[in-house]
Symmetry: C2
Subunit: 192 residues, 2 copies
């Protein structure tokens, strides 16, 4: 077995999602994932991921947090906090191309079926909000407005993702996120 | 060993917090917690909690969710969504009497030191927001306003808790939560 495995990371993610969907998250072992990914080894798995849970989250969390923070930083100086957040959502949403929808549909079902994965998903959401909060603070947005704008952004992103990760949906994630953020903006006025 | 153990649940919680603080969450076993709680058995532990993590969260999550939902339901019909949320926060905060502050200070440090406990805390926060969202919907608050008001409530509660769980703090959690919610309300106006 050579040390270089083409696309091994991507293959491990796909294999993990297949097995979690087929036999459940709890019943699936790292060995099985590596084997299903075209005869990779456990050692290859652990070169990419710290544990079984991370295989569905590690890459996304890092990349999405960075894209979000960079886009918020790059928004025009005149942009309001929510306009900067919208730019961040747009940047992340652009990576969810239509060919990833089927993967997202299955990911959503697998996560919903495991309390361990649901908690990991909440932790990813919190990390994303944290990345937005930090980027907003660096633009000079004070607390608690920075954290609040970030939570609205996370709320909008996850509502939009839930709609997008539906085989019947035809819209882009970016469009849905924009719409969700506008709806939250309108809802704010009705809270008190 | 008799089957009835006075205050065994409370003793297990205290023992767990002591051990997590002394030797870390990962290094602590359920056997050690039961032993430290005055010679209880692992079986007694599992009569109260499903696993090691739950010992710090199970009771609070259930009670706080119920108090929150009941107080939101009992708020006057004329109360705005955020006024109903404020009533919920008040009801939960009232259970955090001053003699619990020292426990909260240590709990906060232990949770901050373990990624597993941090994730469990996020899950408790999500459950609390879920309880608020459900109670607001039952008052006729539409989506996404119900979820948004609930997230503002959770944000206010946890900011207030962070301030309260400081040995130097002299305020009540209820007062801090009210203040945090007012600050969020003011910050909303600056977002866009």
């Amino acid at each position: 077995m050579g040390r270089w495995e083409p696309n091994s990371r991507e293959r491990l993610v796909r294999a993990a999602l297949d097995l979690f969907a087929e036999q459940g998250y709890d019943a699936t072992t790292v060995n099985q994932i590596a084997e299903r990914a075209g005869g990779l080894t456990k050692m290859t798995f652990f070169r990419h991921f710290s544990d079984k849970r991370e295989v569905l989250f590690a890459a996304g969390q890092e990349i999405h947090g960075r894209l979000m923070a960079d886009a918020i930083a790059a928004a025009p100086g005149s942009a309001s906090p929510l306009q900067a957040v919208a730019a961040g959502l747009e940047a992340v949403a652009a990576t969810f191309t239509d060919d990833r929808r089927e993967f997202a549909v299955r990911l959503r079902a697998v996560v919903a079926g495991s309390s361990e994965l649901r908690e990991r998903a909440l932790s990813k959401r919190a990390a994303l909000a944290e990345a937005m909060t930090g980027a907003l603070r660096r633009r000079g947005v004070p607390d608690p407005a920075a954290g609040l704008a970030a939570e609205l952004g996370a709320h909008a992103f996850y509502s939009a993702f839930d709609e997008w990760a539906d085989p019947a949906n035809q819209q882009t994630l970016g469009g849905l996120a924009r719409q969700a953020l506008d709806e939250l903006r309108a809802a704010i006025a009705t809270l008190d």
